[in-house]
C-alpha cells in the first residue's frame, strides 16, 4: 500500500476539487455511475495487468470488448440463441483469442505489441463485417440477464445510493488476482518471468505456459468486460464500441504502479488507477472543461504520474548506490 500513497493523493485531490467546484459530484446518481464505470474498467485493467506483469502488452482488448459486446445481442436477438449457449460461447471465444496471442508470442516469438496491434484491427473488423456495421441491442428484452450489470444492490442505511452489481464480479476477480500473485507458486513465477525471462527459464520455470496463460486471462477478462459493458449500455455501434478501452486499461495499470518492463503488478494499484482515471473523466465534465479536453487531461496526468514515479525510483536507486558503494 505504501507505494500507492501518491496515487491515492491524486485521487483524493481530484475528488475534493470536483466536489467543491463542480456540480452534482456527490449525488448518489453520479457516484453510482462512477463506481459502475470503475468496476467495469477495472476488470479490463486487471487482465492487461497480468500481461504487463510478464513484460508484454495487449492492445487488442478494446476490440475484444467490441467483438464480444456486439456478438452477445447479435446472437441472442438476430440468431435467437439461448443465453445459456451465448455466454459460454463468447467467453470461450475470448479465451481462444488470448490463447492465439499467447502462442504467437511464445512459440513464434513475435512481439506482443505487433501481435495485439493486429488483433486490435482484426477483431474490430470482424465485428463490423459480421453485423454489417449495424447497431446491435437487446431491444428491451433479456432484462434478467442484463441485471448482472445494471442491477443495483440496496445498502442498509443508505436511501439513494445503491451498490452497482458489477462490483461483485470485480471484488471476486480482484481478490482472486491478488491471492494468485501473492500466494501461489504460479503467481510468483509469473512476476519472475516478467522481471527476467531468461533467468526464469534457466531456473526451470515454464515461462511459455505462464506468458500464454496471462494472455488468455487478459482476453477472457476483456470478453467478460465486453459482456458486462453491453449489458450496461443496452445497445452499441460496432464501429465505436470499446474504442480506446485498451488505452484506459493500460493507463490505469501503469498509474497503479505496474512497470511496462514487467515483473511488478499491484491489484490495489490497478483498481485505484482505474478509479482515478474515471473520476478525472467525470470531473472534466462536471467542471465544464469541455469533453474535447478529456484525452489531453488524461495524457497529461499519466505523463506526470509516470515521470514522478521514475524520478522517485532514480532517487531511491541513487540512495541505494551511495549506501552500497565501496
Amino acid at each position: 500500500m505504501r507505494k500507492h500513497w501518491g496515487l491515492l493523493g491524486i485521487f483524493l485531490v481530484v475528488c475534493i476539487v470536483t466536489a467543491l467546484y463542480g456540480k452534482n459530484f456527490l449525488t448518489a446518481y453520479n457516484l453510482m455511475n462512477l463506481v459502475q464505470r470503475t468496476a467495469l474498467f477495472s476488470i479490463l485493467a486487471l487482465g492487461v495487468g497480468f500481461v504487463i506483469g510478464t513484460g508484454g502488452i495487449d492492445l487488442s482488448l478494446g476490440s475484444v470488448v467490441c467483438l464480444v459486446g456486439i456478438a452477445v445481442p447479435w446472437l441472442l436477438i438476430e440468431h435467437g440463441w439461448s443465453p445459456w449457449t451465448v455466454v459460454p460461447v463468447v467467453l470461450a471465444g475470448s479465451a481462444l483469442i488470448g490463447l492465439a496471442h499467447g502462442l504467437l508470442v511464445t512459440r513464434l516469438r513475435l512481439q506482443p505489441f505487433l501481435v495485439t496491434l493486429c488483433g486490435l484491427l482484426l477483431y474490430r473488423g470482424i465485428a463490423r463485417w459480421m453485423t454489417g456495421d449495424q447497431s446491435q441491442g437487446f431491444q428491451g428484452e433479456f432484462a434478467e440477464l442484463r441485471s448482472i450489470a445494471v442491477g443495483r444492490i440496496p445498502l442498509p442505511g443508505l436511501e439513494t445510493f445503491r451498490l452497482p452489481a458489477t462490483t461483485i464480479p470485480l471484488v471476486v476477480l480482484a481478490v482472486i488476482a491478488a491471492l494468485f500473485l501473492a500466494r501461489t507458486v504460479w503467481g510468483r513465477w509469473l512476476l519472475a518471468t516478467g522481471s527476467n525471462e531468461a533467468a526464469a527459464r534457466y531456473s526451470g520455470i515454464p515461462t511459455a505456459r505462464l506468458v500464454t496463460g496471462a494472455y488468455v486471462a487478459c482476453s477472457l477478462l476483456a470478453g467478460l468486460g465486453g459482456m458486462l459493458f453491453i449489458f450496461d449500455v443496452g445497445s452499441a455501434q460496432p464501429s465505436d464500441f470499446g474504442n480506446f478501452y485498451e488505452l484506459y486499461a493500460i493507463a490505469a495499470a501503469v498509474l497503479g504502479g505496474c512497470s511496462l518492463r514487467g515483473g511488478s503488478v499491484s491489484v490495489v494499484g490497478i483498481v485505484l488507477g482505474t478509479a482515478t482515471l474515471q473520476v478525472l473523466r467525470n470531473s472534466i465534465n462536471l467542471l465544464g472543461l469541455g469533453s474535447q479536453l478529456e484525452f489531453a487531461v488524461i495524457g497529461a496526468v499519466l505523463l506526470a504520474g509516470v515521470a514522478a514515479d521514475e524520478l522517485v525510483r532514480r532517487w531511491h536507486a541513487a540512495r541505494l548506490e551511495r549506501r552500497g558503494a565501496g
Binding site: 500466494r183 501461489t184 507458486v185 504460479w186 510468483r188 513465477w189 519472475a192 522481471s195 527476467n196 531468461a198 533467468a199 526464469a200 527459464r201 534457466y202 531456473s203 526451470g204 520455470i205 515454464p206 515461462t207 515483473g263 540512495r319 541505494l320 551511495r322 549506501r323 552500497g324 558503494a325 565501496g326
Partner: protein, 509 residues
C-alpha cells in the same frame, strides 16, 4: 625490476576515509604512491578498492584524511581534487574497467580527445596523427592512427586508453581490473608494457583480482579488508598465502578430502550429444554419483553449449540419461527430474536483480514447499535462512535486493537456489568468475558437500587453478569435442593447456 634511484614518493594518502549515508566504506587508509613503482591494491569485493580509486582519481572527495602531492625536494602540500579534470591536471589518470573510447573516432581523435590540434579552427589531422602515432608506439601498439576505435579488439582498446592517459601527461596511472577481459598472452603483454612504464618513472596503481598478476608485477601491495588497511606488503613479504590471509581475515580451512568413487554408479550419461556449437561434433561423457567432473578448455571450445544442451536449452541431438532413464523435454521438465544449472552470465541468465535474496533463492524450491499451489511462506523463510547460513552469504538479510550484493554473494544466491532443491545433477558454468577468494572457497565447499550427498557435478571453468582444485576428473574440450581426459592426480596445467589448444599429449587417457 625498477632501478632504485628514480623511485620516490609523488603522492601520499593520509588517513583517507569515506562515509556514505552513515556507512563507513573506507577508513584510515595511508598509502605512498611512488614514481617508478607498481603499487597493487587488493581486497575482496566490497573491501573498498573502488572507493579508494574514485578518491585518488577525483571522482569522490574523501570524508576524512587528505591527499598530498610531494615535490622533488620532498616538500608535501595538500592536493584537493574536486573533479576528474583536477586529477588530470595533477597528472593522475584512471583507466576504467569498462572501456569508454568513442567508437566512431579514429585513434588520433580518441587519444587527443579534448586536446585536438587545430589551425585557424580547422582540425590539423596530420599533426594529430603524428603525435598519436608516437603515443601508440610508446604502449607497444603498431597501429595506424587513422584506424577506428570501434574496430579494435578489447585488449588493444585498453592500451589505447593508456596511451591517451600518457599523452595527457599522466604521471600516475591507475588501472582498475585491466585484465578482466584479456587472454593470457594479452595479459602478459600488458604486464610487460607496465614494467616499461615503471622503468621510465611512471607510478602505476594496479587493482586486480588475479593474485598471480599482482605477484608478478607489483613492488608493493596494499591489502584492504572491510574498508580498512589489512596490511602493506613489499616484495620480500609478498606471497599468495599472506595476501589471501590478509584479504579474507581468516585462515581458509583446508578443503574437504574427496572420497573414493570407485564403486559409484553412473548418474548422468551423455551419448553422442551434438550441441549448438558451430562445429557440431558429438560429445559423450558420464558423471558418477558423487563425482565432480571439470570441463577445461579455451573460450569457444563448446563447454557452455554442452552444458546448455544437457539442460535442454536450445536445439541438440543425441541422448542424455539421468539414473538410467532418458532425460528429455524442456528445461522445466528436466529441472523437475532433478537437474540444476548455474549459468555463466549471472546477471542475464541467473538473477532477478531487483528482487530480494529471499525470492531469488526460493524460486526453484517453491513447488516443493507448496500445498495445492499455495506458497508455504514459513517453509520458505526456513529454507532461505538455512541456505544463507550454509553458504555464508553476506549480508545475511534475506530482504536485501540482489543487485546490491557483491559478485561472490550473487553467485552464492544462484547456487543456493539449486542446493535448496537437492539436485541429482548440478551443472555449473564458470562457478566463480569475478568472485573473491573467500566466496570462492565457500562455493567450492558447497559444491563438494552437494557431491557428497550424491549429486553428480559437471562444471566448466576457464580458470585452470579452479579445475585442478575442484574436479575429481577433468575433461578437456577443444573445438567442440572432448580432446582428452585426466584423473586429478595425473593432471597438470601444462598438459591441460596443451590439449585445450589442440595439441596431443601423453598422460591423457
Amino acid at each position: 625490476m625498477a632501478s632504485a634511484p628514480q623511485v620516490r614518493t609523488i603522492l601520499r594518502a593520509r588517513g583517507i576515509g569515506r562515509r556514505f549515508a552513515g556507512v563507513t566504506a573506507l577508513d584510515g587508509i595511508d598509502a605512498d604512491i611512488r614514481a617508478g613503482e607498481v603499487l597493487a591494491i587488493v581486497g575482496e569485493n566490497g573491501a573498498g578498492k573502488s572507493t579508494l580509486l574514485k578518491i585518488l582519481s577525483g571522482v569522490l572527495a574523501p570524508s576524512s584524511g587528505s591527499l598530498e602531492e610531494v615535490d622533488g625536494h620532498g616538500h608535501a602540500h595538500e592536493l584537493r581534487l574536486r573533479s576528474v579534470a583536477d586529477a588530470a591536471q595533477a597528472g593522475i589518470a584512471l583507466v576504467h574497467q569498462e572501456l569508454n573510447l568513442a567508437e566512431n573516432l579514429d585513434l588520433a581523435g580518441a587519444i587527443l580527445l579534448g586536446r585536438e590540434h587545430h589551425r585557424f579552427g580547422w582540425l590539423d589531422t596530420r599533426s594529430m596523427r603524428a603525435e598519436a602515432g608516437r603515443w601508440l608506439a610508446r604502449v607497444g601498439l603498431d597501429l595506424d592512427p587513422s584506424t577506428l576505435c570501434g574496430s579494435l579488439p578489447i585488449a588493444q582498446r585498453q592500451l589505447v586508453e593508456i596511451a591517451k592517459a600518457l599523452s595527457a601527461n599522466a604521471r600516475i596511472l591507475i588501472l582498475d581490473e585491466p585484465t578482466s577481459s584479456l587472454s593470457a598472452r594479452e595479459t602478459e603483454r600488458l604486464l610487460s608494457m607496465l614494467d616499461e612504464l615503471r622503468r621510465s618513472g611512471v607510478a602505476v596503481v594496479y587493482v586486480s583480482h588475479h593474485l598471480d598478476e599482482v605477484l608478478a608485477i607489483a613492488d608493493r601491495a596494499l591489502v584492504l579488508r572491510d574498508g580498512r588497511m589489512a596490511g602493506t606488503l613489499d616484495r620480500s613479504t609478498m606471497d599468495r598465502s599472506t595476501i589471501e590471509r590478509l584479504m579474507v581475515g581468516r585462515d581458509l580451512p583446508p578443503v574437504t578430502v574427496r572420497p573414493s568413487l570407485d564403486d559409484a554408479s553412473t548418474r548422468l550419461a551423455v551419448d553422442g550429444l551434438i550441441s549448438a556449437h558451430r562445429r557440431r561434433r558429438p560429445v559423450s561423457l558420464t558423471v558418477r554419483r558423487g563425482e565432480i567432473v571439470g570441463l577445461a578448455g579455451l573460450v569457444g571450445a563448446g563447454r557452455t553449449e554442452l552444458l546448455e544442451a544437457i539442460a535442454g536449452l536450445g536445439h541438440a541431438s543425441g541422448s542424455i540419461s539421468l539414473d538410467g532413464r532418458p532425460l528429455t523435454g524442456t528445461i522445466a521438465e528436466r529441472v523437475a527430474r532433478g537437474l540444476a544449472i548455474v549459468p555463466e552470465d549471472r546477471a542475464r541468465h541467473g538473477l532477478f536483480t531487483l528482487d530480494p535474496v529471499r525470492t531469488n533463492i526460493s524460486m526453484a524450491w517453491l513447488p516443493r514447499g507448496a500445498h495445492a499451489g499455495l506458497v508455504d511462506h514459513a517453509g520458505e523463510r526456513e529454507v532461505v535462512g538455512g541456505m544463507i547460513t550454509r553458504l555464508r552469504l553476506r549480508p545475511t538479510d534475506p530482504a536485501r535486493r540482489v543487485q546490491t550484493l557483491s559478485g561472490g554473494n550473487q553467485q552464492k544466491t544462484i547456487l543456493g537456489r539449486w542446493l535448496a532443491v537437492e539436485p541429482s545433477v548440478l551443472l555449473l558454468d564458470e562457478p566463480t568468475r569475478g568472485v573473491d577468494v573467500g566466496a570462492r572457497h565457500d562455493i567450492h565447499e558447497a559444491v563438494r558437500a552437494a557431491a557428497a550427498a550424491g549429486c553428480a557435478v559437471l562444471f566448466a571453468s576457464s580458470d585452470l587453478e579452479e579445475v585442478l582444485l575442484l574436479a575429481d576428473r577433468i575433461l578437456v574440450m577443444h573445438d567442440g569435442a572432448i580432446a582428452g581426459e585426466f584423473l586429478r592426480e595425473a593432471a597438470t596445467d601444462v598438459a591441460i593447456m596443451s590439449l585445450a589448444t589442440g595439441g596431443a599429449l601423453e598422460g591423457a587417457r
